[in-house]
């Protein structure tokens, strides 16, 4: 069966006013959203799934509410208007709007994966799925020949030796300007150019993130090594906070003793764009991990180490227990079954 054609999913039915317990989200006669429903004294944040506000829409003119993310006061007014398209989140007296869709908002210390878009005189411009391109200054990378080597005019001229347009790299957000533009650095052996693997992008940590479904959230470990079955060996998975994912063959770092260890490793392969030999089994497992992550995102689940490991094991079990029809493709129905099995077990 090379092709499966599905009928379109029916639009979700919206029943306004059907649920009396949630009546505080109804529009009142003034046309704004009634905020009187706090008498229950709930401490947990509550989101309204029923109303979607649009940019500029009046949320409330009650002065008891404080303005949070995604909301603004117009000049000479105390009313709260929404600045994004999304749902309302109430935390005690704080009112914020969670956008339905948002690009990644960089924060200091985030591990991100980026792609070089532009090379400038002393810096690279990096696409990190944020509203603005991030910048990676020449001083933000480890140069070969020792971590403390001075940056010379020769390095500036040969800037394309390190990174050129299209190159992928893993980096950390060093600082964020007021405009939201991020500055990156790769001054650690953990960071640098990516090779030996496959890139994919899903939705990352945007504004808020509580109400959004699926995608990568900030977690304790963004980089982990997965030991795979079927002779695949170890696979490195890097989950960039910005939603970019790198799945690659695990290459053991060369552990050389001595004071020159860092220099050696930097000079040897940090800026290489040549892949190592990757076995057929490893390639197949990399494709499987990518399929698992895609299925998780399509199922609206969060993507982190725990979920990926669990979903990978489930997909392996399914493969052994059931039909092998349709190859290793984890799309559509098969992907849904994997996600269901992960959530139940």
């Amino acid at each position: 069966m090379p092709i499966s054609i599905l009928p379109p999913a029916p639009a979700p039915s919206i029943s306004y006013g059907a649920d009396p317990s949630d009546s505080d989200d109804d529009f009142d006669l003034d046309g704004d959203i009634d905020m009187e429903g706090t008498s229950r004294g709930l401490k947990r944040p509550r989101t309204s799934q029923r109303h979607i506000v649009t940019p500029g829409e009046l949320v409330t003119d009650d002065t008891q509410w404080m303005r949070g993310h995604g909301a603004y006061h117009p000049p000479d007014s105390t009313a709260i208007h929404s600045s994004v398209f999304g749902t309302i989140l109430k935390t005690n007296k704080l009112l914020s709007i969670i956008p339905l869709r948002a690009r990644y908002t960089p924060e200091i210390g985030d591990l991100v994966i980026g792609r070089i878009i532009e090379v400038q005189q002393r810096r690279w411009k990096v696409e990190v799925a944020a509203p603005l391109l991030a910048s990676l200054p020449l001083s933000g990378i480890n140069l070969p020949g020792g971590a403390l080597r001075r940056r010379t005019a020769v390095d500036e001229l040969n800037i394309r030796n390190f990174f050129t347009e299209g190159d992928l790299l893993v980096a950390e957000v060093q600082s964020v300007y007021e405009s939201g533009q991020a500055t990156l650095h790769t001054r650690s052996t953990k960071y640098g150019k990516l090779r030996n693997g496959f890139f994919m992008s899903v939705s990352g940590a945007g504004g808020g993130g509580l109400a959004r479904k699926g995608g990568i959230a900030r977690s304790r470990r963004q980089v982990f090594t997965l030991s795979t079955g079927r002779g695949g060996g170890d696979i490195d998975v890097i989950l960039g906070v910005n939603g970019f994912i790198w799945i690659a063959k695990h290459v053991k770092p060369k552990m050389e003793e001595g004071p020159n260890r860092l220099e050696e490793s930097v000079s040897m392969d940090v800026y290489s764009s040549q892949n190592n030999d990757i076995g057929v089994e490893t390639r197949r497992e990399i494709a499987r991990v990518a399929g698992v992550i895609r299925a998780l995102v399509e199922g609206g689940r969060r993507v982190d180490e725990e979920m990926v490991v669990k979903a990978y094991e489930v997909s392996l079990e399914m493969e052994e227990g059931m039909d092998v029809e349709g190859g290793d493709f984890l799309g559509g129905e098969k992907g849904r079954r994997v996600v269901e099995a992960v959530m139940s077990g």
Binding site: P2, I3, P8, F198, S267, S273, D328, G332
Partner: protein
Amino acid sequence: MPPTSSQLLLSPAELSYLHSSLSLTPPIRPDGRTTTQFRPLVAESGIIPSANGSARVCFSDGTEAIAGVKAEVEKSQWRPGSTEQSLQVDEDGGDDEAGQAGTQGTGENSWISMSIEVPGFRDDDALPVFLSAMLTEALLADGKLKDRLWINRRFHWKLYIDILLLSAPLSYPLPLLSLTTHLALLSARLPKLKSEGDEDPLFDDDWEASTYLYPRDTKGACLDRPPITLLVIAVGPNFVFDPSKEELAVAEAVIALSAGTSDASTLNKNLRLLSIRTIDPPSRLTPLGIPDALSSAATGSAPLPPDEQLAAREGTDEHGVWNPPRGGMKRAVLAQIIKAVIEPGGVAQEVMDGLMHVEV
């Protein structure tokens, strides 16, 4: 906003990984599909009430298209050649038979007009023009559709096919547009003709009595089907159907094949090849990867000048380094692709059968 580049930018390491995975036997596709497997797609037809036929198709990579078929009655232009032909028919038999016999070979190519709207492109840009030429070519190639538009000696149907790509063209949109057009034409119906001969045409108001543009038998099975155009890429000895945008980026050759029903007999469901076009693969313009041995980042020395570097690189044939493909595709691969498309039970047959079951 960051630039939205229509062409996918990939690093040499990624290109090398994708290319070597697809060159293996059997090839390993980045999403684990088999070579002839399509991604699941969402399709519906008959969505625009004011059009004669319409369809909507969503691919799983997020691209979506709507096609509408609209037929209008138009006065035929008088041509000396065509009049002579129908006069000859007139001499042979009566008026009624002229109506039947006149439909053979009377259709004109200009009776089908196609316009494609791709967001971010002007309607005279190369991409929409090329796409519409390619799709129209396949439609006209079987020669039966345009003859069916003939009403009488003075009037004919003019078929307007409008295709709207709703999303940005993330990958080459040809298969999406072709499948959408196929579905729209399959669902297209023309009102029943009540007038006779060369009178001004008068049609039945009852839409239930209308006839399908592609005729069906009493059980609803199609006697004739619109053509489909499929995109196939070749990498090394392998070929891959329905390429994703990453696969398209490393293709050594990209070809578009149109397949339609054979005109000999519709009972044997043989398909025939209507056209093959090669499309310039985007991988030719990618920068080459630099092997470690030539990399000056490792040594810290100044890099070689570009021409010397190119010369030094020419002899090397290292694994894991990206080399943009050169030359064309092998004839054996092309023959295999054509066989896979048009053989009975082949890919084109499967896709058409799948699209037949889309509910109106």
